[in-house]
């Protein structure tokens, strides 16, 4: 904490600050919100921001601030899960491909290349078109689409590390491949993984927001930022332009916090290399 405050890495500082604020909001939103986010107060439809309703209310009289708090939580959790699926499976696939090499490696990497060639939102739309959707399907679908980029990165790290002396030593001492992969190599590459995972998180937030903006997110009764932004579009004229503004800026804040954090971690890591 002290080193963070003293560091001149402004990306990391600002990113950590924004993310701390967001995390605090999300955690608070889990236990307490000023109003029930789904309570419809018909007497206060589309009221402008005031002390009673910090961000105003929407067309059903629901408190936008409470909804943003919970929507932020939904976006955060959904993108976190998407990212986690991509990270874990991607690491396993990348490790297997990079460590074993040969035909297995080639085939896996070609598949990854093919998937990464397509924009993830577009592919997710297509997959949903084919298999239909349930409440949480979006997490699995987007999570799967995040696997290849991680797999590629982990693989290239593994290919580099494989020929290092410490790995050879371990092999000489009779360590099994699984042990070498998880106990020896993985701890050595997590520093590269960390910034990449943050940037992946950022992409996941964007993808999730785009999907729920198109009405294909998690279920409708849970507030989600993308869907709220979509709903707010109808009230730009005369009604409630602040609705779109508050929801949109909270997405921007989340994206920006993660981008800065990723950037900062990357810079920190490059500094370590020099």
């Amino acid at each position: 904490m002290k080193t963070l405050l003293k560091s001149d890495n402004w990306y990391l500082k600002c990113g950590a600050f924004i993310m701390a604020v967001i995390l605090l909001t999300v955690l608070t939103g889990l236990f307490w919100t000023p109003y029930d986010p789904n309570y419809m107060d018909t007497s206060a439809r589309l009221s402008s921001p005031s002390f009673a309703h910090l961000f105003g209310t929407d067309n059903f009289g629901r408190d936008i601030f409470s909804r943003v708090m919970q929507g932020l939580g939904t976006s955060f959790m959904v993108s976190f899960c998407i990212n986690l699926i991509g990270l874990i499976i991607g690491t396993i696939v990348g490790a297997a491909a990079g460590y074993s090499g040969g035909l297995f490696d080639d085939v896996l990497m070609r598949i990854c290349d093919a998937i990464t060639a397509f924009p993830s939102v577009m592919l997710a739309l297509v997959i949903i078109a084919v298999i239909g959707r349930g409440d949480m399907d979006i997490i699995w679908i987007l999570g799967t689409l995040f696997i290849p980029s991680y797999a590629r990165m982990v693989r290239s790290e593994f290919v580099q590390q494989k020929s290092c002396n410490y790995v050879r030593m371990a092999r000489l001492m009779g360590a099994k491949p699984l042990r070498i992969i998880f106990v020896h190599i993985l701890p050595n590459i997590y520093k590269t993984l960390l910034p990449a995972a943050t940037i992946g998180f950022n992409n996941a937030v964007l993808a999730e927001a785009s999907m729920s903006f198109l009405g294909i997110g998690v279920s409708a009764n849970r507030p989600s930022l993308g869907r709220m932004l979509n709903e707010s579009q109808g009230f730009l004229i005369g009604g409630a332009p602040w609705y779109a503004a508050f929801v949109g800026f909270s997405i921007v804040l989340l994206v920006m916090g993660l981008a800065l954090l990723g950037e900062g971690l990357q810079a920190e890591q490059n500094r370590g290399k020099k």
């Binding site: 060639a117 397509f118 939102v121 577009m122 785009s210 779109a244 949109g248 997405i251 950037e263």
Partner: protein, 313 residues
């Protein structure tokens, strides 16, 4: 030349493979028969209709027939509108392609000129200011930019009427005028990504040995930036631009919703929700071909802009 040809064969094979996979997927899941008959469906009627429509033949022959028709411009008939799919898709495809290309041209022109401007800046303060502004702009997703634009230019300044789209045939100038703001909202995040990339690439180039040699021969900073570093720094930016053409298509799908442009993205979404699979299949295959062709062009461009990349044989 050999490289181009080899890549072209690869391209065709990929398109065939992917379209076959898409076709199979839609055949397995999107069986339209029960849906077409609706409430009157009886097992006999279903069997009869299956026979009539040729659904009992093997997948391979049906795929070949479908692909042949597709190439001739016959994409089947929409289940819900009973219209030829080609008639529904092709005019909208034109709009989407126009929008994407506009966004692409804007990105290329703006990002390279802004990036070069920033790199050549003498004042560190303005450079820092631009970096901060860039970082903020980069975090705004295209759909929010679109909403801000409709609000500001449409509802406050009345420069255009949101939702009042004019087709190219009626009024070409109005058509491009209407597409301008959507194109800008697609382009802005890409522009700031490119500018940032160009900035950091030039910074990295300036630390390299050949620049130091140039300095030792008495070259000043301006010359080193303009004639040495920029040349090398721009290469990855160009390849990034080529690849981002595919991503812009995805942003198009979303932006079309905001500006209510009757493009292929709107059609795709509405066909998905009405489960109109012939339309979805046609659009998916077109999108896939688009992405594959764009990546193919990017692959061909790499060795042209960067002679260091050896064409692998």
């Amino acid at each position: 030349m050999k490289y181009v040809l080899k890549k072209a064969i690869n391209l065709i094979l990929t398109v065939v493979l992917v379209s076959f996979l898409a076709f199979c997927a839609f055949q397995i899941i999107g069986d339209p028969i029960a849906r077409m008959l609706g409430a009157e469906a009886t097992p006999e009627k279903i069997a009869q209709l299956r026979e009539e429509l040729g659904f009992n033949r093997p997948v391979m022959t049906r795929y070949l027939e479908w692909a042949g028709n597709f190439l001739r411009g016959d994409m089947g008939i929409s289940y819900s509108y009973k219209l030829p799919v080609a008639e529904m898709v092709l005019p909208k495809l034109g709009t989407t392609v126009a929008l994407t290309l506009m966004a692409f041209v804007l990105t290329c022109v703006a990002s390279i000129s802004i990036g070069v401007f920033q790199v050549r800046l003498k004042s560190a303060r303005i450079d820092r200011l631009m970096t901060v502004a860039n970082q903020i702009i980069m975090s705004i997703p295209p759909f929010f930019i679109g909403i801000l634009f409709t609000c500001f230019f449409g509802l406050v300044l009345h420069w255009f009427t949101p939702g009042y789209f004019v087709s190219f045939k009626e009024d070409p100038a109005g058509f491009f005028g209407y597409l301008f703001l959507p194109a800008v909202s697609i382009a802005i995040p890409k522009i700031s990504q490119c500018v940032k990339m160009l900035r950091s690439q030039t910074g990295a180039e300036l630390e390299k040995d050949y620049i130091r040699t140039a300095y030792s021969r008495g070259m000043n900073t301006g010359f080193a930036v303009n004639y040495h570093a920029l040349h090398n720094a721009i290469i990855p930016v160009i390849s990034f631009l080529a690849v981002s053409l595919a991503e812009m298509l995805a942003s198009c799908i979303i932006i079309e919703q905001i500006f209510t442009i009757p493009g292929i993205g709107r059609l795709l979404l509405s066909s998905i929700s009405s489960r109109d699979f012939t339309v979805v299949l046609a659009i998916v295959v077109i999108l896939v071909i688009w992405v594959i062709v764009v990546n193919y062009i990017a692959d061909i461009i790499y060795p042209l802009v960067d002679p260091r990349i050896k064409v692998s044989k």
